[in-house]
Symmetry: C2
Subunit: 156 residues, 2 copies
Amino acid sequence: MTRTQRKARADAMDVSEMALETLVGYNLKRAYVVLQNDYRAVMGDHGLSPRVFSALTFVVEMPNLTQSDLARRLGIERSGLVAIVDELEARGYLNRVAVPQDRRIQALAPTESGVQAYEAALALINEHEDRMLHMLNAEEREQLVHLLKKIREIGE
Amino acid sequence: MTRTQRKARADAMDVSEMALETLVGYNLKRAYVVLQNDYRAVMGDHGLSPRVFSALTFVVEMPNLTQSDLARRLGIERSGLVAIVDELEARGYLNRVAVPQDRRIQALAPTESGVQAYEAALALINEHEDRMLHMLNAEEREQLVHLLKKIREIGE
DNA sequence: TATTGTTATACTCTATAACTATA
DNA sequence: TATAGTTATAGAGTATAACAATA
């Protein structure tokens, strides 16, 4: 019996039976939106957006990356990174430092204030994820991250 | 020992040790981008976007939904749905049908062409996901969808 | 008063293409 | 010739606020 024939017998389908509900992409997007909405609420209107926080993480953890390096690690275009680095510099969280050996590049150096902002934001984000994901036990949460990393690896 | 003290000993950190890498939100976003890029490649420039396909699914599987109903089920605003329904109507995949009992609403009725387009798109998307997710066995894939649904449920 | 569909508008995220200064 | 950073620009996707028609 085809799907169309089944539909001829009943006008509406149970949501949980829809093929859409079994798609990984659809569930990925919906789950991300749920998490993101709470992230924005926690970080506030003037807080670091997810992408700016990600960039700051790399700058703090791997000091003196170039912008091209950082763009590659974040999986975005060089051009898109400019505004992100501009914002971090305007906040006083990093400096673009000239590199004498190659005058095309500028190393991204975190400031002390940037390190502090990173640690404060990370604490808030960890609280946010712990609260949002309380229904997952430690093993489930680890498994989820593990499976998501496997998908990420395709794109490398 | 704090993170900062650790950093004092080594200039660069192993990527896999970064707190960022353990965050669910970050991994969710990165995994979604990987899947989405292939989705776009498979569906082509004039194919149905993810959100338009999702909307079409509901219209086909639950005929005669109103736009307000559909927006709620998709988790978006009514205003944002207008362009989506416009596109599906322009493609000839659905009709806005007047409802005599309540002249404010218009039921969304799939056309035969809309049902066929839905089934063709679903076949492409299933192939796409099977190919992209070949590194996950059936159990892992089911577990992933299960965990994502748990996160989605928070937002309801 | 409240709801439905709609428009106008703005903001975020992201990509492409072209430029400049260096290498 | 190729690369790093930058600008200009455009296109998704989404939200908020206001409106007319209807309940």
